[in-house]
C-alpha cells in the first residue's frame, strides 16, 4: 500500500463561495517532488471511518517545499469536501498519500490545448507553471460560473494574457467545442478536466474530427457517487461486509481492514480491479472493457445490487 505522509496546513484561502484552497508543508523532513498533473489522496477521519479523496496538486512543481490543493464544496458531499471546508484550519495536521500522476503532459506534443470546467482548473495550474517554465506552446480554455466556480481567473488573466480564453456561463458565454478543436494544428494534444458532460462532448467532437485517441487526455472528477446499500462476501476469508449508501465498496473494504491496491479512486487507473465470483454489479468505471466486466469490477466506483450479496475473490 502507498506509504502515507504527514503534512501541516500552513495556509487556507477561500477563493470563491464554494472553492477553498489549502497549502500543506511537510510535518517532518521534505515533501517528495511531483510532476504537473499529479494528485494526492487526502485522508479525512470522519468519525469511525476514514474517507480518502483524490485532489490534483496545483502548485508549481518547481517549488518542492509546499503542496497546494483546491476543494470545491460538493452539494452531494459524502463528507469529504465538507470536512475540508468546515473543519480544517491552519496548523492542523493531515495525512496524504504520495503524489502520483495519472494525467501527465505528453512529451511529444507541439501544442497543448487545456480545457477546464469549474474546479477542473486545478491540474492545469501546475501544467501552466510547467509549460511556462519550458517555454512551450499552449492555450487554456476555462469555463466556469462567475463569482461561484471562477477560482484563479484573475491570476490566470494576468499570467496568460490572450492565451486564456474564459467562458462565464452566468454571462451567457459558451465554449464552442467544435470550433475549438477544428482550428488546431497537427501535433496538438488536448487535455480536459471537468464535469463528465464536458469530457464526453470533447471526446465526441475530437472523434468526429478524426483526432487519434492518443492525443486526447482527460481526467474526471474522482469522487465516487453514492448509491444504494449492498452486501459483499469475501470468498477466501468468508468475511461479510455491509456497504452503506454513502461509502464506496473500496472504502468499505478498507474500513474492514481489507487492503486493495489503488491510485485514482475514480474508476480510471485500473489498479483496484478485483475479481468477483457471483452477484450483480453496477459498473461505473472507465477502465474495464465488456469482457473484463464479466468477472472483474473496480471497487473504487462500482457497486453491487441490493438484491443479493456480491461475492468477491478476496
Amino acid at each position: 500500500m502507498s506509504a502515507l505522509m504527514e503534512v501541516r496546513v500552513c495556509a487556507v484561502r477561500q477563493l470563491t463561495p464554494v472553492v477553498r484552497e489549502f497549502t500543506f508543508e511537510a510535518a517532518e523532513g521534505q515533501l517528495p517532488g511531483f510532476s504537473s498533473g499529479s494528485h494526492v489522496q487526502v485522508l479525512m477521519p470522519l468519525g469511525e471511518r476514514t474517507l480518502r479523496n483524490a485532489y490534483s496538486l496545483l502548485g508549481d512543481p518547481a517549488d518542492s517545499t509546499r503542496y497546494r490543493i483546491a476543494v470545491r464544496l460538493q452539494d452531494a458531499s459524502r463528507g469529504g469536501s465538507r470536512y475540508l471546508h468546515e473543519r480544517v484550519a491552519v496548523g492542523d495536521r493531515l495525512q496524504l498519500s504520495r503524489p502520483h500522476n495519472l494525467f501527465p503532459l505528453h512529451s511529444q506534443a507541439s501544442h497543448h490545448v487545456l480545457v477546464a470546467g469549474g474546479i477542473g482548473i486545478t491540474p492545469f495550474m501546475a501544467y501552466i507553471a510547467e509549460l511556462q517554465a519550458r517555454g512551450a506552446s499552449f492555450e487554456l480554455h476555462y469555463a466556469f460560473r462567475g463569482r461561484l466556480t471562477d477560482a484563479y481567473v484573475d491570476e490566470l488573466a494576468e499570467r496568460l494574457g490572450d492565451r486564456l480564453h474564459a467562458y462565464d456561463s452566468s454571462a451567457g458565454q459558451r465554449l464552442d467545442l467544435a470550433a475549438l478543436l477544428a482550428g488546431q494544428p497537427l501535433g496538438t494534444h488536448l487535455y480536459a478536466c471537468g464535469p463528465q458532460r464536458l469530457l464526453d462532448g470533447l471526446r465526441e467532437q475530437a472523434r468526429a474530427l478524426g483526432w487519434p485517441d492518443g492525443r486526447v487526455h482527460w481526467e474526471a472528477f474522482a469522487a465516487p457517487e453514492p448509491g444504494l446499500a449492498f452486501r459483499v462476501e469475501l470468498a477466501r476469508s468468508g468475511q461479510r461486509i455491509e456497504v452503506p449508501a454513502d461509502l464506496s465498496l473500496l472504502e468499505a473494504l478498507e474500513a474492514a481492514g481489507v487492503e486493495v491496491p489503488n491510485l485514482c479512486r475514480g474508476g480510471v487507473c485500473g489498479q483496484c480491479a478485483t475479481r468477483y465470483l457471483a452477484g450483480a454489479v453496477e459498473h461505473r468505471d472507465h477502465y474495464l472493457d465488456e469482457a473484463q466486466r464479466a468477472d472483474s469490477l473496480m471497487p473504487c466506483v462500482s457497486r453491487g445490487g441490493c438484491a443479493s450479496a456480491l461475492l468477491l475473490d478476496l
Binding site: 517528495p32 510532476s35 499529479s38 503524489p99 501527465p104 512529451s107 492518443g214
Partner: protein, 341 residues
Amino acid sequence: MPVVMKPLETYRDDFTFRNSPQAIARFPFPFPEDSYMYSVNLEPANGGASGSVFEHWFDIDEHYVSEMAERARVLERDPGRCLVMPHMAQAAWDSLEMLMEHLAADYPEHFELQRDGDRWTWINRPLGIEQHFTFGDPATLPCEPLEYITRQAQGDFAVLDQRDGDLFMDAGMVTCPADWSIKFDAGMSFKQWHAPVPLAPQMGVFDRALKYLLNIQVGQPVRRLNWTMTINPRLDTSSETFHEWGHERGLVTPENVARLVHLRVELQFMPRLPRSNALLFGIRTYLISLEELATNPAWACRLHRVLRDLPEVIADYKGLTLYRQTVVDWLSQFDPEVRAA
C-alpha cells in the same frame, strides 16, 4: 559499514578485476530455486540487510573507482553511449538530484551534497571531485547532467519517458550492457526493445511487467534480478563492440573455464523520477568468476542444475550455447547428486 575501495583494476586487456571475499559474500546470486524460467520477478525495493547490495537505492562497492575509469574509457571511444533526447532534459536533472541525494545520504564518507536553493555543491571524494553548480543550468556543469552524474555512479541507467500507456527509451548511459545497445534501442517502446527475448512474450510476462512499471509511484521503487554469462570480467559487452568479445566464447576449455567464465547478474532498480514523471531504470552489473562463485558450494550446485536444465532457446538467447556443456561439466563436481550417481 564503510565501503573500502580497491585500487584500479581493469575490465579489458589484462583483466585484473577480482572480487574480494567480502564482495563474493554479498554477490546477488539470482536463483531462488534449482531451475530458471522467465517470470515477472519484480518486487518492492524496500531496502535490504546492512552491507547487502539491496541496502541502498544505488549500490557502491569496492570496484567503484575501476568501474568509473572503465566508463570514462568507453565514452572516450564512443560518446554515443550516453543519450539524452531533448524532451528528457528535465528527467536528466531529476536523475542527477536523485543520485546525488541518495549517494550523499547513504555514503557520507564518500559523497557530500550541499544545497542552497539552486546553488549546489557536490563532493565526490573517491574521484577527487568538488563541483559548484546551479541546479537546472547545464552550462554550470562540465557536461550534460545525466552524463555528469552517471560518470560517478556504478551501473548503466536508462531513463524512460512514460506516455501513451507505454515506456520509451529516450535517454540513458549504457557502457556495460549485456549484449544490447542504447543507440539501437533509442526511442523504442518497452515491447520493442524486449522483442528479441524468447518465450517471455507468449507467457504474457511483458504485458504484466509493463502494467506494473507504469504504476510505480514516487518513493516506492521496485527491483528485479536478471542474469547472463560473460567471458572474462568484461563490462562492455555491447552490440557495438561484439567484434572484440564475441569470439571469446570459443576460447573456453575445461582447463580455463573456472577463471574465464563469469556469472553476470543485473540488479535492476526502477524508481519514479518525481519531477518529470519519467522512470529511471538502473542496471547495476555484478560479475563473478566460476572459481569465485564456487567458494560457496551451494551456489555452485544450484548453478549446475540451472544451467544443465536451461531450455535451449534461453541458452541461445543468452549466448551460452558454445560453452554451456564445459561449464556444466566443471560445476558438476559441486552437485552431490552427480557425485552420488
